[in-house]
Amino acid sequence: MKKMVLISSLLLLISSFWSCNKDLVEYSQGDIKVKIVEGDEWLHDFPLFLGINKKNPPQVAIWLEDTNGNYLTTIYASYKIAHQAWQSANGNRRKEALPCWCYARGVKYADGLYLPTKDQPLTDAMSGATPRKGFDVKITPNSNLKKFIVKVELNHSIDFNDSYPKSAKEGDPNYSGGKEGSGQPALVYEAMVDLTTGQKTFNAQLIGHSSSDGTSGTIYKDMSGITTAQNIVKQITVTIQ
């Protein structure tokens, strides 16, 4: 009986701690919430060994552009691309992961790619482990920034389908980095935000997909051949608090 009470009390004690967690991001009036709601394909199988798969979240970058489409700043980028911390990529730098963000950012590294390196990663405070479900980022623009575009680019690795197969060869129009590459290319969403209108919610729209082989920052509007990747996110909203 004593043992039962002891074990029960311990379980009670431990379970009570979970409810102590607080929201670390607190919003005040005027703050802007960029909220990504995960879709059915947010987690994607990534093979480890012996047929065991790991469910991986997508690579994500969120950045701001002015109304003319000029890059202003990154808000968030996934840790793996920001620090070149790919696992099982066999040396592939994964330039096809988030090419729109990379080219918009416009920082060229020693190897000629627009990807951060292990030695020169993105500012750590801008990058984070991608959550296993949707998440939000709080931004407080400075007083001069009234109209801007929020862009979000997302991509799974080895997300192959019939249109973007693993077997595609370099130079083929549907080549996506080889067997450790992307498969379906990254998708790009954008929301035009105008703080002067009084509008509180801006829904981001899917505006196209990125270059499948990562050789440019062009956005392609033709979505034929993109299947499951369209369900990585359910909704992206920008909300003024």
Binding site: K2, K3, V5, L6, I7, S8, S9, L10, L11, L12, L13, I14, S16, F17, W18, S19, C20, N21, K22, D23, L24, V25, L64, L72, T73, I75, Y76, Y79, K80, H83, A85, Q87, T123, D124, A125, M126, G128, A129, P131, R132, F135, D136, V137, K138, I139, T140, P141, N142, L145
Partner: protein, 175 residues
């Protein structure tokens, strides 16, 4: 209500521990550990834990562990622990052990999280009273932290959820 549950739990645990001590069935182990990071972001943990056991039989013990775990942030785990000796005591006695609980985050802008560590090890009767422990296993430590930055355009904040899995390597001693 949460505080009441917490208080009662601590009280009950304390009372039962005192009763257990009266029966002289208490033992303690201390572990110093590290690990090989398996997850991204990678972080090699450093852990210093103490576990108090109630020896239910000569081979099976259950208890409570706590200590300090250092990842990107310093955490204080509190966990239930069970240990089973896989053979009768010898000079080298293999055992299996599993700790499961929650780690507190004393630093601000950090939330604690789930802690889980199954291991297998061996007790070496190196001294008359004390035994030296070697263990290897897995350790999962989850927690959340706030990341913030500021530049000429914006201030930005987001909550990063970290889930560190590592191959745990521990050395310790029983008391």
């Amino acid at each position: 209500m949460k505080k009441i549950i917490l208080f009662l739990s601590i009280m009950l645990t304390g009372i039962m521990t005192v009763n257990a001590q009266e029966e002289c069935k208490i033992s303690f182990s201390g572990y110093l550990g590290t690990g090989l990071a398996m997850s991204t972001p990678e972080r090699t943990p450093v852990t210093l834990h103490v576990i108090g056991y109630y020896n239910i039989s000569s081979r099976f013990s259950a208890g409570v562990g706590t200590g300090v775990s250092v990842y990107e942030k310093t955490l204080i785990p509190l966990y239930a622990d069970v240990k089973y000796k896989l053979s009768a005591p010898h000079k080298f006695t293999p055992y299996a052990e599993c700790g499961c609980g929650y780690s507190f985050a004393p630093q601000k802008n950090t939330n604690g999280g789930f802690y889980f560590s199954p291991t297998i090890g061996v007790e070496w009767s190196a001294f008359k009273k004390n035994k030296v422990l070697f263990a290897v296993g897995y350790e999962l430590q989850e927690f959340e932290r706030l990341k913030q930055f500021e530049n000429q355009y914006i201030n930005a904040e987001f909550q990063e959820s970290l889930s560190h899995g590592s191959v745990a390597l521990k050395v310790g001693m029983t008391f």
